[in-house]
Amino acid sequence: MSGILAVLEAGHKLSAETLAAAVDLGAKLGLSVHSVEPGGTYTADGFTDGLAELIRTKQFQVVLFPHTYQVRDFAPKLATRFDRSLISDVIRLRVDSGVLFVTRQLFQGKMNAEIKPLGEPVFLSLQAGAYRAGEAEGVVVEAMPAAGAAPRQKPEEKFREAARAVDLSAAPIIVSVGRGIKEKENLSLIEDLAGALGAEIAASRPICDNGWLPMERQVGSSGQTVAPKLYVAVGLSGAIQHLVGMKGAKTVVAINKDENAPIFEVADYGMCADLFEVLPALTAAIRAAKG
């Protein structure tokens, strides 16, 4: 027996998309679709042992994962057990004459690569937004085999850092700054624009990593999730980890000097220009317009 196994993560929003992808792929490749949702305390050792056993006994040809932090932690290890390479961060699956092709991002979304996996099993992890969650009928639910040896990792309770002093989730207007700003000193340009717009200031991760702005102003998968009326992204490339934190914004304006920057793909209004030339004029024009 063989088929497609979707490995789902309990409570994660990407699981439904992954299952939908498995169902779609199953239909196109003529393979049965199975799913497993490992439970209990997560450890890389435990999940790898259990899933390796399941994949080996049922001889799955394709194993699909959601590209979550947890999957990043164990799926490469699992694939290695089968002397295979995981194809991670997949954004598109295509079947042509019974052959599977997958597209994944390179350079944080600035390029795409399409590849044809060779050999089996094929291990794939799906990026957010690759598939819309849909009906999942006819999926065989598999039980997770008991783990083998005691895991070497000893996980403690999950926790959040102390309450955030800034809550960006309620801000109606956000001006968000990325590495295009170059120097901490230049942040005054952003402060001026935010002041003129009556906006909160947010940032991409590298700005917070550098200590130029506090961590609590970071937007993205490891920062805050925001949904303002207006999100102005300045000198920010639009990596997927940033986009997941702001794609709920009603209107997105992007200012970036690279016309191919992925941020333009989510922007309603784009300006391909040097921020150092644009910002002072923009701030002045907004002040004038507001009177």
Binding site: A44, D73, K77, A79, L106, E114, P155, R205, M271
Partner: protein
């Protein structure tokens, strides 16, 4: 305490990327290169662990000749010595094969701790460290924001999604993949740059390490992402302000 840090050389940020004539990779003819950003943080963590616990930091990098510039930079920042795995066509090695090379080099050193970045800025598979751990039979943890060592045990802080964290304990030796921002990066000093010239760089070939690679995929091609969204591109500040006023209604 002996710490090995895997560093990858990648095209410099903000490089103008175009597909190569072959359509199989980017055009490398006019590119500049730098250390992969999370790897710079992995190196920083290794140097600070050494400063706290004593020992040695060894940088390992698989790549073509040009990678030696990145290796020198790591030495200038304070790595004690380095291993350069000489591979001209590193982009054609999949992560498993790359990790086999790195793991073979690690084995010759038997370190107490192996650090990698959490993912590369170019291909971005995000898995070489985890694969290496499995190949070496070592425990691992990923996306690490803090490393504590006490009595031969590791306790690390893992970053989870949506602002959650978790501490995880495990025995040494182990492999950790380091997240950007774990510590503040240092610059190389003039003295460091001078000293780097005298530090040992051992060059090994895949053959010497006994590693070869079999392709696990066939590359169809690389392309710029297609635009699907109707973004209104504006040319002037006046035009943008007009939109903000009359269409977005925020002014």
């Amino acid at each position: 305490m002996k710490i090995l840090v895997a560093i990858k050389q990648v095209p410099a940020r903000d490089s103008l990327l175009t597909a190569a004539a072959s359509g199989k990779w980017i055009d490398e003819s006019n590119l500049e290169y730098e250390i992969n950003e999370p790897d710079a943080y992995a190196l920083e963590e290794a140097l600070q662990l050494k400063e706290a616990h004593g020992g040695e930091v060894v940088a390992v990098c698989a790549g073509p000749d040009r990678a030696s510039a990145t290796i020198r930079e790591a030495l200038a920042k304070g790595a004690d010595r380095a291993i350069h795995i000489a591979v001209d066509d590193i982009v054609d090695w999949d992560t498993l094969a790359t990790a086999k090379l790195l793991a073979a080099a690690v084995k010759t050193e038997a370190p107490d701790l192996v650090l990698t970045g959490l993912q590369s800025d170019d291909v971005g598979a995000g898995q070489a460290g985890v694969v290496m751990a499995e190949l070496l039979g070592l425990p691992h943890a990923t996306i690490i924001m803090q490393v504590d060592i006490e009595g031969g045990m590791l306790r690390v802080k893992r970053e989870l999604e949506d602002g959650w964290f978790q501490h995880v304990g495990m025995p040494l030796p182990a492999v950790l993949t380091i997240q950007s921002g774990i510590k503040k990066l240092r610059y190389a000093t003039l003295m460091g740059i001078k000293k780097a010239k005298t530090k040992e760089v051992k060059t090994l070939t895949p053959g010497e390490l006994g590693v070869s690679h079999v392709a696990s995929y066939e590359l169809v091609g690389v392309t710029l992402p297609q635009k699907s969204k109707q973004t209104q591109m504006v040319k002037t500040v006046a035009e943008l302000v007009e939109k903000l006023k009359n269409e977005v209604h925020v002014l």
